[in-house]
Amino acid sequence: MNNQIMNEMIIETKNLTKVYRRFVKKEGLRGSIEGLFKREYEQKEAVSGIDFNVREGEFIGLIGPNGAGKTTLIKMLTGIIAPTSGEISVMGYYPNNMKRGFKMQYAVVMGQKSQLFMELTVNDTLRLFKEIYEIPQEEYIRTRAFFTELFDVKELMEVQVRTLSLGERMKMEIIVALLHNPRVLFLDEPTIGLDAIAANQIRRFLKEVNQKKKTTIVLTSHYMEDIRTLCGRTVVINHGKKIYDGGTEEMFARYHDVERIYKEAEQDA
């Protein structure tokens, strides 16, 4: 039964594309005046024809340089934005339909956006999430206890969030996201700005969550250490295109360093 679940495809995309239209303004005052009457737009293909599958229970890494399309892909997978074309299915849902049943089953943590109430304590934020996700009281207490112990933050739960360090805050973001035991956890740069010790702790906890809770985790990161330590499989994206999809160890053995991954994998693709 467990193997069956582990083999189930939980995320599937086919030829997924996202095109943004952006205004191009010519230089100077004359350009601004022209722009008032005749606007010129350019098409920017942030994600271009990506085929991408994830099995339940997998821990998969998405890497690529700035502007590669990683975050856009995560935003399409979570339904925040709609794809321009292509097919997408996450847990059997079309994400941008924003069905409640879909939202109940995943969580997203964005390294640069906080969902905590800065002036209050983490427990206060957790109480709101308990209501939002309709978590029964007993389960809420059990899950909260599990994660506070796992993340070793018991003494920080009643402290004003604003006073926490960046590393502590990121632990709290992850706890808040995991409170309803989501099937899929999307992590967009969770270790950004963290020191080596805090980043290591976060990695260790994420690994445990993936193993103990069987949560499918999709991680985007700039840090190769995140990918190397956590992800069995890695997808490399550059200029909106998938240029590598395979084993993480194999990728490092083949390309050695990040620059070569981006350069040579693109040529190979």
């Binding site: 925040i80 995943y106 997203v108 109430f117 209050l120 206060d124 709101l128 209501e131 939002i132 740069e189």
Partner: protein, 263 residues
């Protein structure tokens, strides 16, 4: 519905806790909003002291009108003004992402997460003005009259909410709605001083249909004064339904149109 109620309760509770973290911030608005209300009353007093009739309304009806508009404005300030007011920033900063990924209506959460108890004294003061105005206008309260008045106030609060959300939802499509908000402010301050009964021609079209701030306090007072005809009542209900549908359409289209911001 029950689930939403629990979320709302938690949002209100969190908001109170948040405000109480700053003692001056919690007690300050009571004094500031109370003072603003007094200034407003003095202005009204100066304007209307020598006016017996405006748009067919006597002084009593005018006081009722002022009280009713203040009540609408005060309830708006307490319940949803600050939440709805934050929508353009949430869209521009990309913070909307986190609202869209939660299994609760983003609009409900945004609207009710910044309630402002500091404006509660305005509600109380507005009720006092209404009671005084009703006395001056010779209104004899009975349960049916009270229920009818309450119905119109609640309906107009829905219309007020619709207009606020509608204007701010335009942020999904344009870079800034600041000018639209200025226009809204101007309409509100004008409507605070002039009842809908004074508008004719193009002004009636603007203030009673396109930007129906002119009917918001007018219809509840017309009802109290026994002047609310069936066509006027149907118009009030119809326009609220129309604006609710339009607001829902613009909001939903906006959410589909939302492109977030690059990180």
């Amino acid at each position: 519905m029950r689930k939403n109620f629990r979320v709302i309760k938690e949002l209100v509770r969190l908001r109170f806790q948040n405000l109480m973290m700053f003692r001056l911030g919690f007690f300050g608005p009571f004094f500031v909003d109370g003072s603003l209300f007094l200034v407003q009353l003095l202005v009204f007093d100066a304007v209307y002291a020598n006016v017996d009739e405006i748009g067919g309304w006597q002084r009593g009806e005018m006081i009722l009108y002022i009280g009713t508009f203040s009540l609408l404005n005060a309830v708006n300030m307490v319940v949803y003004f600050f939440g709805v007011g934050g929508i353009p920033d949430k869209i521009k900063s990309g913070e909307m992402d986190l609202y869209l990924t939660k299994p609760v209506s983003p609009l409900l959460r945004l609207s009710l997460e910044s309630i402002n108890p500091g404006s509660l004294p305005l509600v109380v003061m507005s009720l006092i003005i209404i009671a005084y105005g009703a006395g001056s206008a010779g209104v004899r309260w009975n349960p049916k009259l009270f229920a009818g008045y309450l119905f119109w106030v609640l309906l107009m609060l829905v219309l007020y909410y619709d207009l606020e959300v509608l204007i701010r939802s335009l942020s999904f499509f344009v870079v800034s709605t600041a000018k639209m908000q200025k226009l809204e402010e101007a309409c509100i301050s004008l409507s605070m001083q002039l009842p809908g009964t004074v508008y004719y021609g193009i002004y009636k079209l603007i203030f009673c249909f396109l930007l129906p701030y002119g009917i918001m306090a007018t219809l509840p007072v017309k009802y109290l004064a026994g002047e609310c005809t069936l066509p006027a009542a149907l118009y009030g209900i119809g326009i609220t339904v129309l604006f609710s549908a339009l607001t829902a359409l613009v909001w939903k289209t906006g959410i589909r149109h939302y492109n977030s911001v690059s990180s």
